[in-house]
Subunit: 485 residues, 2 copies
């Protein structure tokens, strides 16, 4: 442990034990520097860590204050324990209602799957689109970008894979109409009707929709909201059942935000290789990491071409452009063939506009700002959760992406909460839509990518009141039950 | 029969019997007017009809000449007689090679499925895209155009249906990423894995690809290259087998160009309604009619919401924009749900740009010019076919669309011809890719939408030479066979 980490630990401990009460002004960094005999720089690093961990808050021009934010995230949510049975899958109807809610500008979009538009470089993208539209007026060349898609763009994506530690040839890449098409093509390329696919619990609802449309069965793997699936449990399932593929989101899982440790990813690749099982690796949020280094994809550990890695520009540039890709390993030819039967090709001008954006502007610089902003907004929303749902919930604090996974008291019915909140102009994504058997009945997913303001604060307050009301009415029910018995 | 029709009939008969020999100058319209005692206008209408039917050609500033074009189209190609067996379907590998060939600007694109870019209003579309991109810079509103898609555009499409005699509510319409996605979603909405689908023979290869990806079985229905499927034969199949849906292209069929007569369309709708069978109606070429009136879709006769009518802007505006739609009748909710699992949404800027185009410019005027040009180019290519493949083929003369279906002598191997032609820089679409059992081995599909020039003329000459060579070498084989026996 380094010096600043030890100092942070000490101060954190004081806060945990209530020696430094919540709301009180914390000693200044200069005071810490003097009292601990360290440089001001070391004291400031300790404070950064404390802010990150939710022990103190920095208020502009006013110094540091003791925060209670650490409480909500201190006690982690337990791993899931799905039944392990194989079953056919049906998409939850609320998924479609969420899209409708996202369309309504009057509804606070905590339940939205889309990144806040203020984080997208819309102006630059639009400029690139205009340039490419003008070029096409003179030299119509739409034919060139038929599948597998724009060569320049595939080369660029290949280079980014190299930076992430994965060797991916541009020939293996197929550009798609958004990340969802990539996932759909990957699933169809790896599986045939009736096959069994291992998925997380909770899982991205889009996964369950695609399984349903393709007539595939699912088996849920125990999943930890911080570290992702339990490799041991997966291995056990594989040994008992004929699993054809896994569909997993190892990096910043939707909805929990879980990040599988590198060692687990390596082990996962090893297990899959031993049993020749394909992995559909949903990497939609992979670029949105808060740490110093980009987490490696499982694809980086794949030696047999079994990983179909699905990426997207929807979370980093704009969801409206509908551009994603698939690095399909040994399934590349099949994926390309299936693409022809599903959409033939992806809008050529969009491919060309994004290629131009990546050539003209620094994508990396845009991503750095984006990641920093998302991290700040995550913290702000965590503070909001702490303030208004305090004592009533546990929440994940993901190291990337833009979701918080909130576990409310067991008596809260997340679907009822979703309906009541919607009636009050706030959307949340209720837990059951992330589960084959409508589990996670007391969990919700919150989108923390939007700017925090009076409206969002008031929306969070509304949520808090609705949760509190659940508690009370439930209390009444509980009291009456024994009397009726 | 009207006066000018009778005159045309008389002159046509003289040409058929060789009284007016090919290449000879035909009497002037004025001379006809005097000799038949009709107005000059009536004589000119008779000559228009004769030109249309390929009996005479108008040479600019030089009058009319007797043509032999009528010979190629005079003897119609017979209807197909598929076996009627149900089978699983596989896409022909040459389909994917054709896309690669289309990408290569050095190859004469007779085999291409894409309309010639010079016929697309690319500049106006690009201008609309630029305007919408600028709007989005100020007011990001991507969310509004989630499925079912841009409301303005769906209203516009609904209005066009009304003009075509079909009552379609905008609520029934789902915008899609090109016409192919519309067809794919329609097929999945109407069918489940293993279901039997009745298709034409020959059929659009995209139909067979989609059937393969979704694990559906096909039964081929006898189809006439001018009038489309044989309703009696279809009824017979329906009575013997459990057909879940039909996938048909009743208006300007790909590849034959067949147009089902209105009476057949009405009867088809009646038969399907009686048996509660869905129809996936591929209407990709429906707007490209040469006659005075737009042919009615089968959808216009649908009283039970069984017809899933699939349209596209790819043939009328630009294939590169990838925008289509689906009017899914009773399957509308399912289609929308399936869309979410496949691509989530269609590029919002593309939807908005096309909506703006339709609002700013006269689509109808554009289509009028487009239809006229396609009709002229069809005639020019028919003349080319007549000139270079003369005596060796029969060819359809569709009343719309941009394909010619050419039946070569039976000894011609269309796949070999395709390969030889490609080696000489000319692509053609060989018959077997349009068939479940790789039939139509001596047929090819030609794209006649491209401008006729020295390059295309020389390409047609090359085709003629390759066909002639087939004939000779085949002749040798035929001669040696009896000797060997």
């Amino acid at each position: 442990m380094r010096r600043y980490e030890r100092i942070a630990e000490d101060i954190g401990s004081l806060i945990r034990r209530g020696v430094l009460p919540v709301g009180q002004r914390a000693p200044s960094a200069r005071a810490i520097s003097l009292s601990h005999g360290v440089s001001l720089g070391t004291a400031l690093r300790a404070y950064e860590l404390l802010v990150d961990r939710g022990f103190i808050e920095a208020l502009p021009r006013s110094g540091y204050y003791v925060s209670s934010l650490w409480r909500a995230t201190a006690e982690p949510i337990a791993a899931s324990h799905p039944s392990g049975a194989s079953r056919t899958v049906g998409a939850h109807p609320i998924v479609f209602e969420l899209f409708d809610a996202a369309r309504d500008a009057a509804i606070v979009p905590f339940g939205s799957p889309f990144i806040s538009p203020d984080l997208c470089p819309l102006e630059r993208l639009a400029r690139c689109l205009r340039v490419r539209a003008s070029t096409q007026m003179q030299h119509p060349n739409w034919i060139e970008d038929l599948p597998p898609g724009n060569g320049e763009l595939r080369e660029y994506i290949g280079t980014r894979y190299a930076h992430a530690g994965a060797a991916v040839s541009p020939d293996e890449i197929v550009l798609t109409s958004g990340g969802m098409e990539a996932l759909y093509l990957a699933l169809r390329a790896a599986c045939s009707h009736g096959d069994l696919v291992a998925i997380e619990s909770p899982a991205f609802y889009g996964c369950m929709q695609a399984l349903e449309v393709l007539g595939l069965r699912a088996v849920e793997v125990p999943t930890h909201p911080q570290h992702g699936i339990d490799i041991g449990a997966l291995t056990d399932i594989i040994q008992r059942k004929s699993v054809r593929a896994c569909w997993l989101m190892p990096t910043f899982h939707n909805p929990t935000g879980a990040l599988m440790p590198d060692a687990n990813k390596r082990e996962l690749a090893r297990v899959l290789a031993r049993h020749e099982i394909a992995l559909i690796e949903d990497a939609a949020y992979e670029e949105l990491y808060f740490g110093a280094h980009r987490p490696k994809p499982v694809k980086a550990y794949d030696t047999k071409g079994l990983v179909l890695h699905c990426g997207s520009f929807s979370k980093s540039l704009s969801p409206g452009y509908r551009l994603g890709w698939l690095a399909a390993g040994r399934y590349a030819q099949d994926a390309r063939r299936i693409k022809t039967a599903v959409t033939i090709a992806t809008c050529f001008l969009v491919q060309q506009a994004v290629a131009l954006y990546l050539q003209r502007f620094s994508y990396e610089r845009h991503l750095r700002v984006l990641r920093k902003t998302l991290q700040t907004r995550q913290l702000t929303m965590l503070q909001g959760v702490q303030r208004y749902l305090s004592g009533n919930c546990r929440v994940t604090r993901p190291q990337g992406g833009y979701y918080l996974w909130v576990e409310l008291p067991e008596y809260v019915d997340a679907v009822k909460l979703y309906r009541d909140a919607l009636a009050s102009g706030v959307s949340v994504a209720p837990g059951p839509i992330f589960s084959v058997r409508s589990e996670f009945t007391h969990c919700i997913r919150l989108n923390c990518s939007y700017p925090w303001n009076a409206t969002t604060e008031s929306a969070m307050q509304t949520l808090g009141e609705l949760v509190a009301r659940c508690s009370k009415s439930e209390g009444v029910v509980r009291q009456t039950r024994p009397a009726a018995a």
